[in-house]
């Protein structure tokens, strides 16, 4: 085992040219997902048992057992991602999607992760939060040579502690992360009963700046992003997490955007039980309804889904629950415009007065927009327009949901007399 490990590590350090044909042929085939919707992973049939996470609008990478090694294969490459119906983005990712597949292992597993670089520039993979040998940390130039274009490197390490982690490039990272390269890495406790929950959701927080009418993100943007996304999806493209009433739920979130995100859940209070540093002692937890996920950090929150209903689940920065919007535009609220409308129509036949009463109108009107551009506010619920976008979805709690049932149960029927009403 040691000799093989040394051989492979040495090969990696020397570049893929040094990897023999035999070892290349042993690389497991890279797996590809079926699309941008959530793919609930099957229960593991090889390796140590665990309860897989459900990655919102994502999937978990299959693995191959090779002796005591659990082998994965990531392919870094340009991908096309549907951000929400009506918009496709040209991103970089892994195995056909951005984010890449969630890698799941169990405390004590030895993982061997092959990374093939099909990008046009060198890359590396950093295993964020993992305790591993320095040479496996994935920082280009510091802990390893870059993975050249067209080459395959291998990372090998033991999963020494359970928790919530992620992976991303540490090579030209501003570009590569702005383009969508990232993925979750979940390490389950060796004892499946430890930290056991009924439903375990996970997603990464990211952001893109894609000019209206374009499809490739700007890689030089630092603050003015216009797509605030979870797993490279925005409302109404983010799948709804569901739970049976009374089930214990965990939601793991990692932030690889450039700003913090106060993530807020309605109808429940939760506790942060895990960060990318490890599990939080019970005595150190406190109840919250919003937890700020800082840049480059992860938070797992847990709660019992006690209350039936359709509960908004979103970032509390209100501009993060909107689609693309103009910056520095005139505020038309309360400004008289009607008297100028006819003259405007003479100049611009399609002109329509906008923003007179606030921006809520946007959620109800369907105005023609530039190609491949999402509306600033959209979506509808049982009571009308939702007028949302970005980092917003609905957490649905229902009675009698089957344990592996993740289908959207539709809108909640509120008991008679419990809806806010006109008086």
């Amino acid at each position: 085992m040691l000799s093989r490990r040394n051989l492979l590590t040495g090969a990696a350090l020397l570049g893929a040219a040094a990897v023999s044909r035999a070892s290349l042929s042993a690389i497991p085939e890279a797996a590809y997902p079926a699309g941008p919707r959530t793919q609930v992973p099957p229960l593991p049939t090889t390796g140590r048992p665990f309860h897989p996470v459900v990655t919102l609008n994502g999937w978990s990478a299959p693995w191959t057992m090779n002796g005591e090694w659990k082998e994965f294969h990531l392919v870094a490459e340009p991908v096309e991602r549907q951000i929400a119906p009506g918009m496709r983005a040209k991103l970089w990712g892994y195995n056909g999607q951005s984010p890449g597949p969630t890698i799941e292992g169990v405390e004590g597993d030895k993982v061997r992760i092959f990374v093939t670089n099909k990008l046009a520039e060198p890359t590396t993979v950093h295993w964020h939060g993992m305790i591993l040998p320095n040479g496996m940390d994935g920082v280009g130039g510091l802990t390893q040579p870059y993975i050249p274009v067209g080459k395959t490197f291998v990372y090998e390490f033991e999963l020494v502690k359970s928790g919530t982690f992620m992976y991303h490039p540490h090579a030209d990272e501003m570009v590569q992360m702005a383009m969508g390269m990232m993925g979750l890495f979940i390490v389950h406790p060796r004892d499946p009963a430890e930290h056991r929950v009924d439903r375990d959701y996970a997603f990464l927080i990211n952001a893109y700046d894609i000019a209206p009418g374009a499809s490739t993100p700007s890689v030089a943007t630092m603050t003015d992003f216009n797509l605030w996304s979870w797993n490279s999806r925005v409302f109404p493209g983010i799948d709804v997490p569901v739970a049976g009433q009374g089930e214990r739920v965990r939601i793991r979130m990692g932030n690889l955007s450039m700003t913090s995100h106060p993530i807020h859940l309605h109808g429940h209070s939760f506790e942060v039980t895990c960060t990318d540093g490890g599990w939080v002692r019970e005595s150190a937890r406190w109840p919250e309804v919003t937890t700020d996920v800082p840049v480059g950090a992860m938070r797992a929150v847990e709660f019992v889904a006690e209350n039936e209903g359709d509960w908004a689940f979103h970032c509390h920065k209100s501009h993060h629950t909107m689609g693309p919007m103009g910056h520095g535009t005139a505020n038309m609220i309360g400004a008289r415009q009607d008297h100028l409308e006819e003259r405007m129509i003479k100049l611009v036949p399609d002109f329509m007065v906008m923003g007179n009463h606030g921006m809520g109108d946007m959620g109800e009107m369907e105005m023609p927009l530039p190609d491949n551009t999402l509306p600033m506010m959209t979506g509808s619920g049982p009571f009308g327009a939702l007028a949302m976008g970005g980092m917003f979805t609905v957490f649905k709690v229902r009675k009698g949901l089957g344990p592996r049932d993740f289908t959207d149960p539709g809108w909640y029927t509120q008991p008679a007399g419990t809806t806010a009403r006109e008086v």
């Binding site: 209206p212 009418g213 693309p324 919007m325 103009g326 535009t329 005139a330 505020n331 038309m332 609220i333 309360g334 400004a335 008289r336 415009q337 100028l340 003259r343 405007m344 003479k346 100049l347 611009v348 399609d350 002109f351 329509m352 906008m354 923003g355 921006m359 946007m362 105005m367 023609p368 927009l369 530039p370 551009t373 509306p375 600033m376």
Partner: protein, 279 residues
């Protein structure tokens, strides 16, 4: 000298004063010649070299005035559009100011832009007015009776081939060559505006309207693009006018440099009918 007689003879053999159709360049020449030359003496005076040369120049001048007048008529409507975008910007700004959404400083920025541009437009407007009145003066009609066409003829997709000059004396070769080069440049510019720049400006306004719909840009950005589009159309008209003026100048250069029989200015069915006639 005989060529001048041809010019005059052709011009005067045309009949009728008030055309039923819009006034063409040839109409204008015919009417102007009747007004200014016929009453001054018998036709055979045109055979005198000085008179003939002056007449040829007069024909070129009237045709030029016609192109300028038609272009001016088109341009005036666009000036109104440019001005309207500025008026609207200032009025929207006032609405925003009234609602407390705009500072006095920003309102003044809109107002000063409107005032400065409007002031500049006043001079331009007078120039365009003068262009039309000059033609009216040349043909001896009231401006309102001119009956000019709505627009100049489209610039042909391909420029005319270089005129043969080998048989001409060096001076004449040079003037025809120069006129042809100017004609080619004017053609290229006018075609660029008609085929590329104006359509692009129109498309840009359409795209900006879509961004306005999405609240990605505001009313001022939309009006700015409408203004840019109107300005481009204005420049396109100027370029079109300059093309026809260059065409006119080229013809003039050809006529004055050729042997009498070779190229009468107003031969029926010649270039004047197909190009620049304005019908």
């Amino acid at each position: 000298m005989r060529r001048h007689a041809i010019i005059l003879g052709f011009a005067l053999c045309l009949t009728g004063i008030a055309p039923a159709h819009a006034l063409t360049a040839d109409d204008a020449v015919r009417i102007a010649l009747r007004k200014h030359i016929a009453p001054t003496g018998p036709i055979h005076d045109a055979a005198e070299p000085d008179v003939a040369a002056a007449m040829t120049e007069f024909v070129e001048d009237v045709r030029g005035a016609w192109f300028r007048a038609v272009a001016a008529r088109q341009a005036l409507a666009l000036l109104d559009e440019v001005r309207e975008t500025l008026d609207l910007s200032a009025e929207f700004a006032q609405s925003l100011r009234d609602a407390g959404n705009l500072s006095a400083l920003d309102l003044m920025r809109h107002q000063v832009l409107q005032a400065e541009t409007t002031a500049g437009l006043a001079v331009l407007r007078a120039d365009l007015q003068i262009e039309q009145e000059r033609l009216a003066h040349l043909v001896g009609m009231a401006l309102s009776d001119l009956g000019l066409p709505d627009k100049l003829a489209d610039v042909p997709p391909s420029p005319a081939a270089a005129p043969p000059t080998a048989s001409l004396p060096p001076e004449a070769q040079w003037s025809v060559r120069t006129a042809h080069l100017k004609y080619l440049a004017a053609h290229e510019r006018a075609r660029a505006y008609a085929a590329t720049i104006v359509p692009l400006r129109r498309k840009i306004t359409e795209e900006t309207t879509l961004r306005f719909n999405g609240m990605l840009v505001d009313i001022f950005a939309l009006l700015a693009d409408v203004r840019e589009q109107a300005s481009a159309s204005l420049t396109a008209i100027e370029a079109e006018r300059d093309f026809w003026l260059a065409e006119n100048a080229l013809r003039y250069a050809e006529v004055v440099s050729h042997e009498p029989q070779a190229a009468p200015v107003l031969a029926p069915g010649a270039r004047s009918g197909a190009a620049g006639g304005g019908h």
